[in-house]
């Protein structure tokens, strides 16, 4: 029988469509969203595709409602998807923190556009890179992936679902208008070639007041609704059993640290980078659409005899600290390329401090990807 979830084969596909197909292939059953450029095609695709597989795309009254409906749906045990762009994420931030706090698997996609404010909706900018990490109030960790191609829009969306389910946490796919609207060849594997993760659910009949269902650094089983668990889930500071505690600072410390450690302790399973800088003097650091330009610039510079390498950030958060440390040990100079005014750059610089010299290069014009000659010229300058 034809598998309606996985459109196995080679396709010439838009990044946003590949993203939606990734979600369906990963087992998404519910998506919620509000129309927004340049992410709308994801919703357009899901509106049809989810119904074909017995799921539902719910168009909400605003993005706040989208993330809330998504979190509610996730507590019924469904795999949930909330695609949007930067302004949508701005509206969702409070409840993204809620998803972190009550340990809810949910995948978010930010097809970043030109900001601040309404900005330039159809132009790509990597302007929201720190937003998932620090946008919601309070102290927390987050997982964010950076696809560089329509193929990776598919692959990273599938992986985002796996990570969300594995760690009972919100996971971001941080693309931009370039990647979202780019059309390239996308290979969708056979269904059995997809390695899919499903969350651990509390065994039916278990009384959650006797089992830790929150704040386990090894990820507690989820006491989803509708199974008679009588779970108490609260946005307030709570203990391992979901009991609210607003008077004890050690309970708050426990609440924050365990949620952070749940991600940080497993950073080796989460963090991915692409490295090609052995014996190089200089390395370019880039992610997303800009990484394509960086890779090409390295190829051109090497053909000119320049000793330059390449470090692509695939997992932006948690920050690839050990990987950047290794890089800074092995190269003398680092050039961070971003299509913004330097958002990820300070993190790289701080991590490499005292070992490598770190510079930042924005594109000539924000909202455009760096010109090839412009980057090669900068490499030549730095190696002079």
């Amino acid at each position: 029988m034809e598998n309606r979830r996985v459109r196995t084969g080679k396709h010439f596909m838009m990044g946003n469509v590949a993203c939606a197909e990734g979600a369906v292939a990963a087992g998404c059953e519910f998506a919620a969203g509000y129309p927004i450029t340049p992410a709308s095609e994801i919703g357009h695709t899901l509106a049809k595709r989810l119904l074909e597989v017995g799921g539902y795309f719910f168009q909400t009254e605003d993005e706040i409602s989208a993330i809330c409906a998504g979190i509610g749906a996730s507590w019924t045990g469904k795999k949930v998807f909330v695609p949007t762009s930067g302004p949508g994420i701005s509206l969702m931030l409070e409840n993204i923190g809620f998803a972190v706090g009550i340990e809810t698997p949910v995948v978010l996609v930010n097809i970043q556009r030109g900001g601040p404010t309404t900005g330039a909706p159809s132009m790509g900018l990597q302007g929201d890179m720190v937003q998932p990490r620090r946008g919601s109030h309070g102290d927390y960790e987050i997982i964010a992936l950076c696809p560089s191609s329509p193929q990776e829009m598919f692959d990273h969306t599938v992986r985002a679902f796996n990570l969300a389910e594995r760690y009972r946490a919100p996971v971001f796919v941080m693309a931009d208008a370039f990647i979202g609207h780019m059309r390239e060849e996308v290979t969708i594997p056979e269904p059995d070639e997809l390695d899919l993760t499903y969350r651990r659910i509390l065994e039916k009949g278990t009384d959650p007041s006797t089992v830790k269902v929150f704040l386990d650094e090894e990820v507690a089983p989820m006491p989803i609704f509708g199974m008679g668990f009588k779970t108490h889930v609260t946005s307030s500071c709570h203990d391992e059993y979901g009991n609210r505690n607003l008077i004890d600072p050690t309970a708050l410390d426990n609440f924050i640290q365990r949620l952070r450690n749940k991600i940080l302790k497993h950073r080796d399973e989460i963090v991915q980078v692409e490295c090609d800088y052995d014996n190089c003097e200089l390395a370019l650091v880039a992610y997303g659409a800009v990484a394509r330009c960086a890779k090409e610039a390295v190829r051109v510079a090497r053909s000119k005899g320049l000793n330059v390498g390449y470090f692509r950030v695939i997992t932006a958060w948690p920050f690839p600290d050990r990987e950047v440390q290794d890089l800074s040990h092995k190269v003398k100079k680092i050039l961070v390329l971003e299509n913004n005014s330097g958002q990820y750059y300070p993190y790289v610089k701080a991590e490499a401090a005292g070992r490598a010299e770190v510079e930042f290069l924005p594109p000539q014009i924000l909202g455009q990807v760096h010109g090839l000659d412009y980057v090669v010229q900068k490499i030549e300058e730095m190696l002079r």
């Binding site: 809330c68 409906a69 946005s235």
Partner: protein, 276 residues
Amino acid sequence: MSSVEHPLRKYLRPSVEATTFCPGCGDGTVLTSILQAIDELGMTMDDFVFVSGIGCAAWIISPNFNADVLHTTHGRPIAFATGIKLNLPEKKVMVVSGDGDLTAIGGNHLIHAARRNIEMVVICANNGIYGMTGGQVAPTTPREARTITTPYGSLENTFDISRMVQASGASFVARWTTYQPRQLTKSIKKAIQKKGFAFIEVISQCPVQFGAKTGAGSAVEMLEMYRKSSISVKKAVEMSPQEIEDKIVTGEFIDTAKPELCEEIARLKERIRGEG
């Protein structure tokens, strides 16, 4: 004598010793009215998922009800409840929250849930003020009432929540005061059985903030005021707007049948499966 237990106690979490409400707060009466309705319908807590927002009334269900309870962020319980109901259509989903939560910060979700006519019970404990944060003016505060943020009296008009929800498309809308707990229980029973969006506004006394700040007085004085100024929907239609200005119109405003969202989605999925 200490062995006597309240018959509704069995619906509360064993760990709950007492509610967190101030003495005389109407939210406790809303709590018992909900449990009484569930008890009289012969349902169990496992038939429900309860959702609340932020504020005193959100604590009616959280942590008290021994059920699946999602205590969410400010203003958003209906949005969360919608996501739950769409994916657990066989369960009853009930939102219990306050007027600030559901009509000020969360007003948009209330309007659109009513418009969609998604099956859900929303109970709004309306105390006319922000109680938990110290007695600030709310959209439901009477005009000219003094609150901590309207020291010279409120300049704004008062929200008629029930009329707004009715206009938005709800299947069932009722309003009662906490002086009418038996009528309230009866309406909650109807709301739970309603295939569609069911909304109940409960005018509920807050002696500590509303009573003290606006001069409405103690819990008992406020209940006496509810007793005196409540008029039925039927009577209200025969009265002029001037005559009902200071009255509380109570009763069931609408009880109708129309297509419900979850059923419509199920039908659509069935159709697509047939075509596929």
